[in-house]
């Protein structure tokens, strides 16, 4: 199956800072999702982005499928952004694979 690597594994920010999270994957993909798992454990869809760029408020994501990576940008971070961010590419086998996540803590 697809190998997924997310970086950095841990990130600590001061409120207001910007950050970039990266997701590398080993094979071509049919789609890719980014999720936020909040401190209460809920998994929230952020983006469905097999290719190109999408923006939603302070968050945006870019997937370059030909180079096998996706980036999640968080601008003007807030304490409510804390949690774990997962990317989940879906390859030809249609078996969803999650990365190990980036754990983000935003301090006030």
């Amino acid at each position: 199956g697809i190998q997924v690597e997310q970086s950095p594994p841990d990130l600590i920010l001061q409120e207001g800072a910007n950050s970039t999270l990266r997701c590398n994957f080993s094979d071509s993909v049919n789609n890719l999702q980014w999720f936020h798992q909040n401190p209460w454990g809920q998994l929230i869809n952020l983006f469905y982005i097999p290719s190109g760029t999408k923006q939603n408020g302070r968050l945006s994501a870019t997937t370059v499928a030909t180079e096998r990576y996706s980036l999640l940008y968080i601008s003007s971070s807030q304490t409510t952004d804390s949690g774990v961010y997962f990317c989940a590419p879906l390859g030809g086998s249609y078996i969803p694979t999650f990365g190990r996540g980036t754990s983000l803590i935003v301090h006030p």
Binding site: N31, Y48, F98, R100, S103
Partner: protein, 115 residues
Amino acid sequence: DTAVSQTPKYLVTQMGNDKSIKCEQNLGHDTMYWYKQDSKKFLKIMFSYNNKELIINETVPNRFSPKSPDKAHLNLHINSLELGDSAVYFCASSQSPGLAGIQQFFGPGTRLTVL
């Protein structure tokens, strides 16, 4: 309206017991999934059903048996529970694989603790 719901939210039980977790989705999706999230937050797919048919079965012990009575429900039954089964189990749903627009939606999770 809750899109993907799971019951119970918490489950504490003794080793050797049998338990079930239920999942329901009202999104009209054809495909449902069970994931296990371990203590290190690693999410791994266990099963997937498409229109009540098993399509993904990822090296899960036989003690785990999914059942899909209809495409809106996917239940997970676990026999002879072991300490290592302690985890958070997530149900998810999406449109059928093979369609370009697959997007998974997750339930709130069931935290299973085996004593």
